[in-house]
Subunit: 170 residues, 2 copies
């Protein structure tokens, strides 16, 4: 389970002659991958579950009234087929259930069951602890700086999205 | 193609009562996802290709002598089956080829063909431009700060990996 293997470090793709933004992007990507890998590993070891299952349950925990399959797909960024398979499996384990939508009896929403919620809360607490540990190598002040800089970056990227859409439409 | 939809913003999962490290992680993840989505979209629109194909070709460009399938799998973080399918498709398009390993004639390595290399260089140049654009919302100084902070974060995470391996083994 050692994952310090350099082979999975996207940053190694960076050359000295690459633009500094590209080197920054590869570093950002490699940090994300390192954290995600650790979270995947811990979810598997401690809860015998996967990141897509955890993400799906996290979406349902935020939407107590349930979500249609199409809404789940849109929010999760995994393909519809995968989501159906995950929901089927979670339903078999009685962690979620499909409920008919009152106003449209041909449709249904997916909701967490009470035991699904209990299970999710345990995983979410552990997940938060793992993240706190993984980020503990930098100080609170550095974390605050990073949070702020990433906020500016995100605003810039979103701005870029909007601008390119406007240009596409003009 | 508008992707400013809030539904794909992992940061919305953050609650006020979450630990600041968790909020930082969700922001990091959402920045990565935004950039990756844009790169996927551009690769599809401008080169009719996918991010895993681009990543695989990037690995081969770095390893001119070619890579065994198992090495490719390890470096790419996508499952072996997918890699075989991607290599098959790229071979059909004459962008990569399988070559027999001289010392072990039962094995082969995958290498970029000359036209594969030309094709990759064009994509890589465009990819670098997109990334520069996406990161242009923050100043060079902010990018340098971010690069440095992410470097510290990465060192901390790797340290954590090593420590937990040592604890597991003790």
């Amino acid at each position: 389970m050692i994952n310090t293997d350099v082979s999975q470090d996207q940053e190694l793709r960076a050359h000295q002659d690459h633009h500094s933004s590209l080197r920054l992007w590869l570093r950002l990507l490699s940090c994300t991958t390192l954290v995600e890998d650790k979270v995947r590993q811990k979810l598997r070891e401690q809860f015998d579950t996967s990141l897509p299952r955890f993400d799906l349950m996290a979406q349902l925990e935020r939407h107590r009234d349930g979500l249609m399959m199409s809404e789940l797909s849109r929010r999760m960024m995994v393909s519809g087929g995968n989501i159906t398979a995950i929901v089927d499996q979670l339903e078999k384990e009685q962690l979620v259930q499909r409920v008919v939508v009152p106003r449209d009896r041909r449709s249904f929403k997916v909701v967490l069951t009470p035991s699904g919620r209990t299970s999710f809360v345990q995983m979410a607490q552990a997940h938060e602890r793992w993240v706190v540990e993984l980020f503990s190598g930098i100080t609170g002040e550095q974390q605050a700086q990073l949070f702020s800089l990433l906020g500016h970056l995100k605003t810039g990227i979103r701005q870029h999205y909007v601008t390119s859409v406007c240009l596409d439409q003009s």
